[in-house]
Symmetry: C2
Subunit: 190 residues, 2 copies
C-alpha cells in the first residue's frame, strides 16, 4: 500500500513491507494508539499565518520542524481539510509565529472554530516581508516562502524558505503542549 498520493521519482523505492505479526490491528485502533503516544511528545505551539491574493488566514500548529540552516528552511505539515488550506496554498507564503508561554489564548483562538476574519480582530499585526501577518508578543517568527509541497496522505508537507527569521521576547518563555495540556517552559529565563 502506498501512503503517498503522488509517488515522487526522487524518492527511494521502499518495498511495501508486510506488517509484522501482531501489528495488523484495526486502523481506528492503530490511529488511537498513535495519538496516545504522540500526546506524550512535547511540542512548541505556533500560529501559522498567511495573507495575499487568496486571503488572510491563520491556524494553530505544532507539526512544524526546523529543516536546514544553510539555506534557512523549515517545514509545516498542513491538513488538507484545514480552513486555512486554500489561503496558505494559494498565497504561497506563510509566517510561523512561535507562541510565548503567556499566549495560550492565541493558541485556542487560532485552533478553534472562530471565523477566520474574527481571529485577527483586535490583534496589532504588522505585515512581514512575505506579506504574512506577524503576531505581536511571540517568542520567534519565521517569515517564509513556500518552496515545495509534498502530498502525504491527509496532509501536505510545506517545505519553506525562511526569508526573515526573528528572535524576540526571549524572557517570556515558550508555550509547550504535552500530555494534552499547556506548559510554560523557561518562563522568566534570560
Amino acid at each position: 500500500m502506498s501512503l503517498i498520493s503522488s509517488p515522487l521519482p526522487s524518492s527511494v523505492p521502499v518495498p511495501a513491507a508486510a506488517l509484522p505479526t501482531g501489528q495488523a490491528e484495526d486502523p481506528i485502533e492503530r490511529a488511537r494508539a498513535f495519538r496516545a503516544a504522540m500526546a506524550q511528545v512535547a511540542a512548541a505551539v505556533h500560529v501559522v499565518t498567511t495573507d495575499g491574493p487568496c486571503g488572510r488566514a491563520g491556524f494553530t500548529a505544532s507539526a512544524v520542524s526546523s529543516l536546514s540552516d544553510a539555506p534557512p528552511m523549515l517545514l509545516v505539515c498542513l491538513q488538507k481539510n484545514s480552513s486555512a488550506y486554500a489561503a496558505v496554498r494559494g498565497n504561497g507564503v506563510l509566517c510561523v509565529n512561535t507562541l510565548s508561554a503567556d499566549q495560550e489564548d492565541l493558541s485556542r483562538l487560532f485552533g478553534g472554530k472562530t471565523p477566520m476574519a474574527e481571529r485577527f480582530a483586535g490583534l496589532a499585526c504588522e505585515a512581514g516581508a512575505s506579506g504574512s501577518p506577524l503576531l505581536p508578543g511571540v517568542r520567534a517568527r519565521f517569515d517564509c516562502h513556500i518552496e515545495q509541497v509534498v502530498s502525504v496522505a491527509t496532509h501536505d508537507v510545506l517545505l519553506c524558505r525562511v526569508v526573515a527569521p526573528q528572535a524576540c521576547a526571549p524572557a517570556a518563555g515558550s508555550l509547550v503542549y504535552a500530555d494534552r495540556r499547556y506548559h510554560g517552559v523557561g518562563v522568566g529565563a534570560a
Copy 2:
C-alpha cells in the same frame, strides 16, 4: 534559486521570489539569525535508532514531527553528513525514541562524538517490530518503516509509516530543549 536538489513533479510550481528589500544579507549572517530564532523554539528530544543489514546506529534529533494519524505517519529530518545516515537509509527502518525528562545523558551520548558501537553499550535495548533498537525508559516510541525520502538541501526528509506506536513512562515527564538548554516538562504528572 531552487533549494531543492531534485525538483518534484508533484510539487506546486513556486516562482523564485525576489528577496524583499533589506533581506538579501550574507548567507552566513542569515544562517546565524535563523539559528538564533530557532534556539527559542522548544522541542522534544528524541533518539532515532536503526538496525539491519547496514548496521546499528542512533542519533539525537529534535527535527521530528507528527504528520498524520490515519495512517499513522511521522517525519524525521536527517542531515546527509550524519554518521548515522548510511545505516538509516540502507536499513529503511527506524525507531523514534522520545526521551524522558531524566534522560539528558542519553541525549548527550547520542548527540556527541561517541563511536556508534559504544553508544549502545550498557543499554538494554529490545528490538522493535522493524528490527530497530527500542531504548529503555523513554516517554514514547514510534517504530517505523521509511516510506518515502525527499531530498532538501543538506537534509533528507524521511516520511515514515509508524508500525508500532507505544506510550510509556507517562509519569517521567518530557525532556525538552529550548534556549540552548534542557528542561523537564510535566515531571511527575500523571
